[in-house]
Amino acid sequence: MKLVIALVLLVLGSLLFHWWSPWWFTPLASNWGTVDTTVDITLYITGFVFVAVNLFLAWSIYRYRHKPGQKADYEPENRSLETWLTAITAVGVIAMLAPGLVVWADFIKVPEDAEEIEVLGEQWRWSYRLPGEDGTLGKVDARFISQANPFGLDPNDPAAADDLLIRDDDLHLPAGRPVKVLLRSRDVLHNFAVPQFRVKMDMIPGTVSYVWFTPTREGRFDIMCMELCGIAHYAMRGAVVVEDADTHRDWLAQQSSWSDVQGIPAGDLAAGETAYAPCSACHGDRGQGNPAMNGPALAGLPGWYIQRQLEHYRQGVRGAHQEDTLGQQMAPMAGVLAGPQAVRDVSAWLASLPVPEPETTVEGNPQRGAAHYNTCGACHGVRAQGNAALQAPRLADQHDWYLRRQLANFRNGIRGYHEDDRHGKQMILMARALQREQSIDDLLAYLNTL
Amino acid sequence: MSVFRTLGEKPWLTPSGHDAVLTPVDPAAASRTALRFIMAIVGVLFFLFIITFLSRSQYPDFQALAGQPWQPFTDASRLWVNTGLLALASVALQLGLLGARRDRLNLAVAGISAGVFFSIAFLVAQMELWRYLQSLGYYMTGNPANSYFYLLTAVHGLHVMGGLIVLANVVFRVWYDDSVATLSQPLGLCTQYWHFLFAVWLVLFALLTSRAETINTLAALCGF
């Protein structure tokens, strides 16, 4: 009896859960309403079968439970009943399958007026490439990929020069225009998925896959990587920003093409040394850092990292949080530098300095720290030497008190919260893996041994 | 089809005299069934390898091992020699089987010995072939065609070795029990396995020495 009641309650409970659940498809933002319709059809059919089969089951158990003197029927088979059930099932299956196949046929046939853009996946970030003025995406090949050419554009292909390269989290698209998204990966499998668009497709190194859709609703929609791609898989986030045509045109105008990127001059060391003078009070004359002034070591950090942080300070991406008092001190100091070229000069000069050896201040267990560092090492390098391809700075030979404070800042969302701080956002997710002070001490103790 | 008739039986009806339909089976039949399954499994294994080979062959970095004058298997004479060795092993075992069935001990012993000898010779010759390929600079990682060549020959060789172990076991048991009469049945199965491996080898041989165009045609037929 308990079982009968339980079965009935489970069926009713499932239905109530379904109706009351606040967790359901996010509101649609693309043309793929037909996908939702297909889901609904299947949901109704399967829901009916679920209720019917289980209520019949419950009734049978109730009606035919063992009572003294009861005897079961003897009926090896009942062909007509079985045939009927088979036929009805087949009809139900066809009713579910047919719309699915029709929608799929739409899904794989890209409309001719769709604009082609490219999404590039790599561990663990998204980048985008737009065709530029000539309307054609340039050729690419894995062997051309380098620090200066992250997309692997073919230098001999004239169509490549004006391709707009967007090394940023956000892809902007105009509403109402179909796009064919070519999907490419540099390293492992990824999956381009935007829940609101109902599209999803793996990205495979060595081949190009695609999806197409027409964004119909303005807004910002998360791109999630949905194919396991390694340790920081869950931190591989991007966004599609759908906007009206004018806003989109403005945004396009701000993007730089490949030839623009190649034209940026390198930093000048001598000019950098001069421009550094005001910084030395807190960061030391040779960039070795100064604990008394809370200034971290800068020497030996990679140029691209210093440059990015200076730009973030100048743009209010870092040092703008109200709880980030030290960052707030730094932000105006970064503004003292004359302009982008000065930033490049200082960064280049600092990167050229010998690596300092700061004093250690933490006590911890380096062995346990090494275990914690396993995850960090995926980006920051096995010896904490940093990795330019992942834009992960060197951690070795940094002041441990500084690293501790930054970890806390990330964990508490004081650093990396800004929409434009793509790596900071990832660090928030990663830094949360370590919560206890002891674990952080162990980690820092390990870093001090490197 | 007896399968369908069997599946169509209504077992709850018990016709009289039905009870004796199945007497306990001849034990030889069990081994025969097992061997059929083994051949099916090994067949599937090689089939899958070959399918991946054809699929992989359609990527641009694949270079067939035959077709052009500088490629090693354009002249496949070495492979023909090896094929001959394996064929001889098969034939010798068949003769040994003949001997065992007719109770001619000498022929049985000679056949089995020759079979083992030619099988081992085949394995050695295959190793020699690897050495030859390496001396030409065709290393395993150089090209997927090379990788497949080493891989498929190695897997085939391992199956020959497995056969040799079973054959040794059979011979040892017969010798130990001192009864030639029980030899012919297991030897028959071994012989069948050898013929099967020879057939597999012929397929591999044909595939690995195919020219690029042939491979492409095959791949196209498979839809790659």
Binding site: F25, Y234 | L7, W12, A30, D61
Partner: protein
């Protein structure tokens, strides 16, 4: 060659004399079955603990320092691989297959007992190699149980070095073990059935195990092929699956390989694998239901045909795991169609189980409770499969928690329900003692209600679009805070289910020490395994003479018969003749 399996006078049957030959190097199928069972349940418990750790992280992110992203992925991977291969496959076929085949078809043992023994020890070796990967530098692989290259063998994935190598080697060893065992099962079923045991008189358990074993024998080679080729890619540097790529800023030497090729191979094995687990479960649950409802299984022939049809079709549906893998999209039409066709025989099986209960005489014993629990969970899991099998619906749902919930329902909870039903049902035969009824019922209610509380809500996280295999959700615009609360509740339910398995373990230990003796055929079953002269059956199973079979395995409640069951070996004149 062993002839003992089918001899009436087992002159050659060597009775084991010492402890070692009786319990360790035993060639008795029953001992081997128990060895398989204990090993599989042991690794299963390891995997259960791993799932608890995963759930802790998902339910309460930002709490546990010892679960970092690497460890989380390693737990996910090892949990999946152990549960699918080393627990379910091994326990259903190596454990129950070994125990039941000879007994149910009236043989004395497997036809190749030595090979059978070898199969277990090889399996044990594969388990040891697998577990060894927890102790190598870098730990076990964290590539997900699908082990997709290039990721599985590249930096940036936990255990990309030793972990993955040990995993692939362990799989290869397992396949060897399975092949040795599987050859035995199919050959024994085909060639060692006793007098009168025609194919269509076999219990559905045997049909399920037989078909599953044939699937396994033909599907595992695909896994072997992919494991060998990936191992070569990793160790030697070939490019079977590895395209030209730049890993974490470093250009690798690979050229031109195809990651999709691996996926095809993997799922060519992986989908039949679902049925390798499901078919024996289907078979066993049919027998449990028929016995405890005192009624013949409804539509026996249809059930057999469905098992065979599902087995055959299962080789033509593999790419429904790959709708969004970037393979040629036109494949979607074919595989969606075949996949939904397979729903028809599966649905028929569900109808027939329910129709067996209909007009039955239902004894709600513990095995029956689990069997009915199975019907419920399997119906649920099967129906959600219709979502994922339909290529269009797979677009929004694949790689989300919907998939996780679906396959746990259909491949986790359902087979586990059957396994418990089977353990409660056959324990009196295996040990001679009956498991405690009250404890068994408590175990059932916790397991049944608990797992539903875990997996029903999980589907809805999937509808929402929450991706699977995420260490933490972090902030995302479309995931409301309530989803985090839901996740915490799921974790609590999962931990309760996990802990409630202790009731079962306690029940087993208690019963073995002082359980009530079950006596002969306590459930009044018809099939041969309950008709042995001794309980538990002795070495050789049948005493001096093999049983003769005179009827099918489902003569329950035959009109005119004096009892409500007629054992298969009872001659005609003693009982009713059927219809």
């Amino acid at each position: 060659m062993q002839h003992t399996a089918i001899a009436d006078q087992p002159a050659e049957l060597h009775d084991p004399h010492s402890f070692v030959t009786r319990y360790i190097w035993s060639q008795d199928h029953k001992v081997i079955a128990i060895q398989y069972g204990i090993t599989a349940i042991f690794v299963g418990l390891v995997a259960l603990v791993l799932s608890g750790l995963m759930r802790l992280q998902l339910g309460f992110p930002d709490t546990f320092d010892f679960i970092d992203p690497s460890a989380y992925l390693q737990f996910v991977t090892m949990h999946g691989m152990i549960m699918v291969i080393y627990l379910l496959t091994a326990l259903l076929l190596g454990g129950f297959g070994n125990y039941l085949i000879p007994l149910m078809i009236g043989a004395r043992d497997m036809v190749f007992p030595y090979l059978n023994m070898l199969s277990f020890w090889t399996y044990l070796l594969s388990v040891i190699v697998l577990l060894a990967s927890f102790f190598v530098p870098g730990g076990p692989t964290g590539a997900g149980w699908t082990l997709y290259p290039p990721q599985a063998i590249l930096q940036g994935t936990p255990g990309y070095d030793w972990g993955i190598i040990l995993m692939l080697i362990s799989l290869a060893i397992f396949i060897v073990a399975f092949t040795m065992g599987g050859l035995n099962y199919v050959t024994t079923i085909l060639q060692a059935r006793t007098r009168g045991m025609t194919l269509m008189r076999m219990p559905l358990t045997i049909w399920g195990i037989f078909t599953a074993t044939v699937l396994g024998l033909l599907a595992f080679p695909a896994l072997l092929v992919s494991a060998i080729m990936m191992l070569l890619d990793k160790v030697i540097g070939t490019s079977f699956f590895m395209p030209a790529l730049v890993s974490l800023g470093e250009s690798m030497d690979y050229t031109g390989g195809s990651p999709i090729l691996f996926q095809h191979l993997f799922w060519f094995f992986g989908h039949p694998e679902v049925y390798i687990v499901a078919l024996p479960a289907f078979g066993m649950v049919s027998d449990v239901i028929a016995t405890h409802a005192r009624k013949n299984i409804f539509g026996y022939r249809m059930m057999v045909w469905a098992i065979v049809a599902i087995g055959g079709l299962s080789f033509f549906v593999w790419a429904h795991h790959m709708y969004v893998s970037g393979m040629h999209p036109a494949f979607g039409f074919f595989f969606a169609t075949t996949t939904l066709i397979i729903a028809v025989p599966t649905a028929i099986k569900v109808y027939n189980w329910v129709l067996t209960l209909w007009r039955g005489n239902i004894h709600l014993t513990v095995p029956m409770l689990f069997a009915i629990g199975f019907i419920f969970t399997f119906t649920h899991g099967g129906l959600t499969g219709l979502f994922l099998g339909n290529v269009t619906i797979d677009l929004p749902l694949s790689d989300t928690y919907f998939v996780v919930a679906h396959f746990h329902m259909v491949m986790g909870v359902s087979p586990i329900m059957v396994l418990f039903a089977a353990i409660y049902h056959w324990f009196p035969l295996i040990s001679g003692r009956k498991l405690h009824e009250g404890l068994g019922k408590a175990h059932f209610w916790f397991t049944f209600l608990g797992t539903y509380a875990v997996y029903l809500p999980m589907h809805y996280l999937g509808f929402l679009g929450v991706p699977r295999r995420y260490f933490a959700m972090g902030g995302s615009d479309f995931i409301p805070a309530s989803a985090e609360t839901l996740n915490a509740n799921i974790t609590i339910a999962a931990l309760i289910v996990g802990l409630s398995q202790l009731i079962f373990l306690y029940n087993v230990v208690r019963t073995l020490r002082r359980g009530e003796p079950a006596g002969h055929n306590p459930w009044g079953a018809t099939s041969l395994e309950w008709q042995t002269p001794d309980v538990p059956p002795k070495h050789g199973n049948w005493g001096p003479e093999l049983p003769s079979v005179h009827r099918w395995a489902y003569d329950f409640s035959v009109p005119g018969a004096e009892k409500d069951f007629i054992p298969q070996n009872q001659p005609e004149k003693a009982g009713g003749t059927g219809t």
